[in-house]
């Protein structure tokens, strides 16, 4: 019941902030309407970071505690993270074309390292399909999920370390977000969409975790069935 309420609140939040971003906030003086893409783009990028951070931490937790519930959390976060990374890339492309003149530029370090992140965690999800043994699968996934997370700080600092099309950090620069010159409506809508998308992420995490646990339980039941069948056949000989 609590999860259902969370889902309704998240859906209402996403709908309200989307309405605000599209119809209430005025067009940007420099970028016009295209700037409206910034809200879901930044929120998606934040949740991609959060998801893969959770995948890495849960993976380390699995290696340490050997608790399959942690592996289920890592799996859930990775799948959701891949979706949000794809959203961030798509939003960036739709924003980039009218502002930069191009959808994509491989020379840009932020864009390229984000594409790498998507490939790494898509690979993580594929890797999980290679083994039927839950413990072996969890261990392999934990190692890949943890190593791949090294890309997150590289993406974040890429705009400071190298030159490219992408602007430097906004959210991580309080002097920009809290700058009195930044219109309150713009900042409020951005923070509102960040909160609404984070609630949606939390709801999806709970649901995807429940699905992962249900799948694990079914796999375990099948595995026990196979063992019982094999022992029964052995005893009958």
């Amino acid at each position: 019941m609590k999860t259902r309420i969370l889902g309704f609140v998240a859906a209402a939040g996403v709908a309200a902030t989307t309405f605000f971003a599209l119809f209430v906030v005025p067009a940007d003086v420099n970028q016009g309407d295209a700037q409206r893409i910034m809200y879901p783009h930044v929120a998606s990028a934040w949740l991609a970071y959060l998801s893969f951070g959770v995948t890495a931490l849960a993976g380390i937790g699995w290696l340490w505690k050997r608790d399959l519930r942690l592996d289920a959390i890592a799996h859930a976060a990775a799948e959701i993270g891949v979706m949000f990374t794809a959203f961030a890339i798509w939003g960036g492309m739709m924003w980039g074309r009218p502002i930069w003149g191009v959808y994509w530029q491989w020379e840009d370090p932020r864009l390229t390292t984000t594409a790498l992140l998507l490939a790494l965690y898509a690979g993580y999800l594929l890797l999980r399909r290679l083994s039927d043994d839950p413990e072996r699968r969890a261990t392999r996934a934990a190692i890949v999920g943890t190593v791949a997370a090294i890309d997150i700080p590289i993406i974040h600092f890429s705009v400071e370390w190298w030159r490219g099309l992408h602007q430097t950090a906004t959210i991580a620069s309080p002097d920009r977000v809290l700058n009195p010159a930044a219109p309150l409506l713009f900042v409020g809508t951005l923070l509102g969409m960040l909160a609404a998308f984070t609630l949606a992420w939390l709801y999806l995490m709970v649901r995807r975790y429940q699905l992962a646990r249900a799948t694990d339980a079914r796999e375990e039941a099948r595995r026990l069935d196979r063992i019982v069948s094999a022992r029964t056949a052995e005893a009958a000989r």
């Binding site: 016009g32 979706m83 959203f87």
Partner: protein, 40 residues
């Protein structure tokens, strides 16, 4: 394409994708629950 076109394309994919994934997840959960019930 106009700026408004890019804005619509971005929001349709992101917000629509979020809704579509939520529905797909709900269906997968319901299917898993049905299989569990049949297994009992």
């Amino acid at each position: 394409m106009t700026d408004a076109g890019f804005v619509v394309a971005a929001y349709v994919v992101i917000v629509g994708g979020l809704a579509a994934y939520s529905v797909a997840l709900w269906r997968r959960l319901r299917a898993a629950a049905t299989r569990d019930d049949e297994g009992r």
